[in-house]
Amino acid sequence: MTTDTNPIAMAAITSVGAAGMPRHHLAIFAALFVFLVAAPFLLYPIFVMKVLCFALFACAFNLLLGFGGLLSFGHAAYFGMASYVSAHAAKVWGLTPELAIIAGTLVAAVLGLAIGSLAIRRHGIYFAMVTLAFAQMIYFFSLQAAFTGGEDGIQAVPRGHLFGLIDLRSSEVLYFFVLAIFFAGILLIYRIIHSPFGQVLKAIRENEPRAISLGYRVNRYKLAVFVLSATLAGVAGATKAIVFQLASLTDVYWTMSGEVVLMTLLGGMGTVFGPIVGAAVIVTMQNYLATFGDWVTIGQGIIFVVAVLSFREGIVGVLAKWIRKPL
């Protein structure tokens, strides 16, 4: 009955290359970077930025689920709250975008600390439910509080000037700012996974009582990864508010928590690159199929059913199995 140990999260580390990461990881990061630098000239930049925000969100979530073994069903709270705070900071307080994002991120971190320290005392499905419960309270707060604008959300958020200097109104300029945040985020996550701390997390995920008996105060590690994950989810949410100039209830609703689970699983939980792929697939689907009405819902449903039945390690998970290397 426990989700604490998941069968497919097994990012075992093999052949470490020169730069401290396996060569094929290095290659993928490089290819991703090249592609993303070129992307705004090939694709609609705002769309790509949306993918990047959600990819970072999914990666942050995956840090907790795939590598911490903790299934949070309330990650919308950190994503959405950060987005509200950063929108409010930019619009009402007139902060520059980077400060607004930092403000949102800090709130997510504090929220993660508060909720996390209560939730980590529970296991498996009960952990998931405690996080859901708190997220629903955050949703309720967002619905009722004055500064969030209720159903309307915070609209017309100014993109502002980066460091007070660079005008972000042009989507191309904004794009590179977002790209920088994204890369900083996933590289940090990569490092966390492959750090001494990451090793302990893995041990805890695999056999918690044993880790305790070795003297690890496991709750502190769980809390630490929870807060890191919430914080990074906050970065993603805060950035999204600046990109779309809007913070709304969608981002704090439980379906958003569900969506990030879907992205992670579809891409491959416990893989480094899976959540990025998962986020890209889902955001693309929502974006380009919006004209088909209910058939989108049906199509999404079919995709999930097929994914669960035939490639449940997720897209990247399946690829990793083919090439027999962790991705």
Binding site: M129, I298, G301, V308, L309
Partner: protein, 295 residues
């Protein structure tokens, strides 16, 4: 006028009674969910859609075949159960050996498909389902007017809940079911037909959802979206009761209905969130829910 906590007692009693009626729905739905989770380890996210199917089943019987409510009460749950059995045989079956996350995902996907189709073909404004003559009218209880249709909901769901509880906790069949949850291989090695057992259990849990749907049809509009948000609340009920605890989900279902009823009087906006507040409090104090077996 005499008042209780600033509310006239009539209103208070009325609200409590309404809470109990609501609680009946929670109880039947969460019972089905608990049966399926407890015995199959599947978090059945299709449950809301299957509840909706129950209501649509009743509606279709009436509109296409002219079959009335009282027949529907008996015919629809088995039909919905059979659709569940088909899903189980064809799809869900393949996931038992996996983490329950996958079951959740699959059933979530199925719910999207089912609800999507119904929205496509029946729209979302909802379809009317007239209550049968016997359920028209009601009793004036002094403090409130109790429609027969709602009184019937309480009675019917109590009967169904108790019968289910008895079968699972007190009979041999129930023992097989519980054992098969934990270690189907071993139970099979005792000579028991586990796959059949599992299929029937899923069918039964789903039939409970269908039953709740039939009960709901004359009360709420028959609407493809009627189960969508309910599922998460019902799931919370199951968790508060203690996952897999049959008695827990029944009692919690009724109990939370009452609490929600009270919230509607004192802080109506909060009635959507009160269940989650309670869930957080309960889980922080009792790690495995109110009636859960601690692991």
């Amino acid at each position: 006028m005499f008042e209780l906590l600033g509310i006239p007692p009539q209103v208070l009693f009325g609200q409590l009674l309404l809470g109990l009626i609501n609680g009946s729905f929670y109880a039947v739905l969460s019972l089905g969910l608990a049966v399926i989770f407890g015995l199959l380890n599947i978090i059945n996210f299709t449950h809301g859609a299957q509840y909706m199917l129950g209501a649509f089943g009743a509606w279709m019987l009436l509109n296409y075949l002219g079959v009335g409510y009282w027949w529907a009460v008996f015919i629809v749950p088995p039909i919905v159960g059979v659709t569940g059995i088909v899903l189980e045989r064809v799809l869900i079956r393949r996931l038992y050996h996996l983490d329950h996350l996958y079951g959740l995902l699959l059933t979530f996907g199925l719910a999207l498909i089912i609800v999507g189709f119904f929205r496509q073909f029946f729209g979302v404004s909802g379809l009317p389902y007239p209550p049968p003559p016997l359920l028209n009218g009601g009793y004036n209880l002094g403090f409130m007017y109790l429609p027969n249709s709602r009184a019937w909901v309480i009675v019917a769901s109590l009967i169904v809940c108790l019968a289910t509880w008895f079968i699972i906790e007190k009979t041999r069949l129930g023992a097989y079911l519980r054992a098969a949850t934990e270690n189907p291989t071993m139970v099979g090695a005792f000579g028991i037909n586990v796959p059949l057992l599992v299929t029937l259990t899923y069918g039964f849990g789903v039939a409970l959802a269908g039953f709740a749907g039939v009960l709901a049809a004359p009360i709420y509009a028959v609407n493809p979206n009627m189960g969508a948000d309910l599922i998460i609340v019902v799931f919370a009920v199951v968790v508060i009761g203690g996952m897999g605890s049959i008695l827990g989900s029944i009692l919690t279902g009724f109990g939370l209905g009452l609490i929600e009823g009270l919230t509607r009087v004192f802080y109506p906006e909060g009635s959507a969130v009160v269940i989650f507040v309670i869930m957080a409090l309960v889980l922080l104090v009792k790690p495995a829910g109110l009636f859960g077996r601690s692991v």
